[in-house]
């Protein structure tokens, strides 16, 4: 395994970049593993990495139905922030934020994490009150977030339209300066490369088709490449979590919806930060390739067709153009959808299930990319010890029975 550095870059330049090694092996599945992780998205791969790195559990396989990051990891708009309202969420998402801040060095792989700031707009008195409340709650939790006037918001993002004539004029904003974006594929590839180096088997084109449960305990998985025994199983299948958990006879409080995004033709740097508006439902940033990256909403019905309706995109573009008339002549290049698993309280479920040795990490819905490192880190702890890490302890499946919900519906009112 080559360490990436200025020297390896120079060395490989001399040989015309023809000798870079593969990032990870493609091993045949073994008969069994201590831990089998279902789903090779960012969360599954991060889980495998931290299992090996932090807990020295290396007899681990990640089983991915398609290719790494071909699910929501590679379809999302990469907004990273940690300014969630409740203490439990602030702890979880800021744990991720702190890991993001050192991730490229940790993985020796550039995940292009860019803390360009996330601006969340307020368009009416209630928005302003909520923004103020969230800013105070965040600061009590040690999470940076500040309230800006409309003029201060425009100074931070000069493209913003402050006209009083638009349907929902901008009245202020909350700004998390540590928030920003990252390169989604790189996150999957970086974790995969790191996990592989520590001995984890990453097995693509391997679909889990059944969970073998004996006497209330999960003992292995049926796959398109044969049966694989497992000491513990971690299900990290995002939009397909209900389907996989159903194989173990577990019903989850999840609904899977299509969520769309689109990008424009690439242009020179024209947009400095991330802007989100919960009220008019729009969010936008510019990728390092130069495309405007625009997130739309979910469709109203559950679906596994990765499509979504055109009217959803139109609605979002109307909102974007009110806020940023400067982009009215831009041409859109591509649009797509991913399937997101949404919980009733818009918070994830990370932990045990009624089936022993079968653990879940799901329900990240429209906003789990930002949590990738933290999610993997605490889920690895959960799988290694059979008990949750203190940070994910509140995020149980049980909370829907005992009523201790973590209602972040406001934080996640806009899909992001």
């Amino acid at each position: 395994m080559t360490r990436f550095s200025i020297f390896s870059l120079a060395r490989n330049a001399l040989s015309g970049h023809a000798n870079w090694p593969a990032y990870w092996r493609s091993p045949e599945p073994k008969r069994g593993y201590d831990v089998v992780i279902i789903g090779g998205g960012g969360h599954g791969l991060a889980t495998a990495y931290y299992l090996a790195k932090v807990h020295k559990v290396t007899n681990v396989a990640v089983l991915e139905r398609g290719w790494l990051g071909g699910g929501n990891t590679g379809r999302n708009t990469t907004i990273c922030r940690s300014n969630y309202l409740y203490d439990e969420s602030a702890a979880l998402y800021d744990h991720a934020m702190q890991l993001w801040e050192g991730l490229s060095a940790e993985l020796n792989y550039n995940v292009m994490f860019s803390q360009r700031g996330v601006l969340m707009l307020a368009h009416n008195t209630h928005d302003l009150q909520i923004a103020r409340r969230t800013v105070h709650a965040n600061r009590l939790n040690g999470v940076d977030n500040e309230l800006l006037t409309a003029e201060e918001a425009k100074a931070f993002c000069p493209q913003l339209n402050l006209s009083k004539d638009i349907r929902y004029p901008v009245m202020g904003a909350a700004l998390q300066r540590r928030g920003g974006t990252a390169r989604h594929d790189a996150v999957a590839w970086g974790y995969a490369r790191g996990a592989d180096r520590l001995g984890v088997d990453i097995i693509q084109n391997c679909e889990v088709t059944g969970i073998r449960v004996e006497g209330g305990r999960a003992v292995g998985v049926e796959t398109s490449r044969g049966y694989i025994a497992a000491g513990r199983i971690g299900c990290v299948a995002a939009g397909h979590s209900s389907v996989v958990a159903g194989m173990a006879g577990i019903e989850l409080p999840l609904e899977s919806f299509p969520l769309q995004a689109l990008v424009s033709e690439p242009v020179k740097p024209a947009f400095p930060c991330v802007v989100m508006s919960n009220t008019i439902h729009a969010y936008i940033s510019q990728s390092d390739k130069g495309e405007l990256v625009i997130g739309a909403g979910t469709d109203q019905y559950i679906s596994y067709a990765q499509r979504g309706g055109m009217q959803i995109i139109e609605h979002t573009l109307e909102a974007i153009l009110e806020l940023f008339p400067i982009f009215s002549r831009m041409r859109m290049l591509r649009s797509w959808a991913g399937i997101v698993d949404v919980t009733p309280d818009r918070s994830p479920i990370i932990g045990r299930t009624p089936v022993d040795n079968f653990f879940i990490n799901c329900g990240w819905g429209t906003g789990g990319f930002k949590a990738t490192p933290g999610s993997g880190h605490v889920f690895a702890h959960t799988l290694a010890h059979g008990e949750p890490h203190p940070i994910n302890a509140p995020f149980t499946l049980d909370r829907f029975v005992n009523g201790r919900l973590i209602d972040e519906a406001a934080a996640a009112a806009v899909a992001h």
Binding site: S242, V243, E251, L252, P253, Y301, G309, M310
Partner: protein
């Protein structure tokens, strides 16, 4: 956008409709007698099948009436539409 056939008004654009999620959820007759787990099932647990799904729609911008549709969630193709009170033949999944 889906093309949805209201049993009363015929085929209309999806934007005229409001989706109401899983069909056939019955409010428990005696909620006080329910265990917490059973109450969770009623309030939060929903079928989320990859395949056939019985769901409710309301023709909000039309006749305003609720009805049931059977749709395949992989293709989004509708298999049948039923006015309220009429039971689709096969079970949900």
């Amino acid at each position: 956008m889906l093309l949805i056939t209201c049993p009363h008004c015929g085929p209309r654009a999806e934007t005229e409709f409001r989706n109401g999620g899983e069909a056939g959820i019955v409010r428990p007759r005696d909620p006080a007698a329910l265990s917490d787990g059973a109450w969770t099932g009623y309030v939060f647990t929903r079928q989320n099948p990859k395949g056939r799904f019985h769901e409710r729609w309301c023709h909000a911008q039309g006749c305003g009436r609720w009805f049931t549709a059977v749709r395949d969630t992989v293709t989004d193709r509708f298999l049948s539409f039923h006015p309220a009170g009429e039971q689709p033949d096969e079970a949900g999944r």
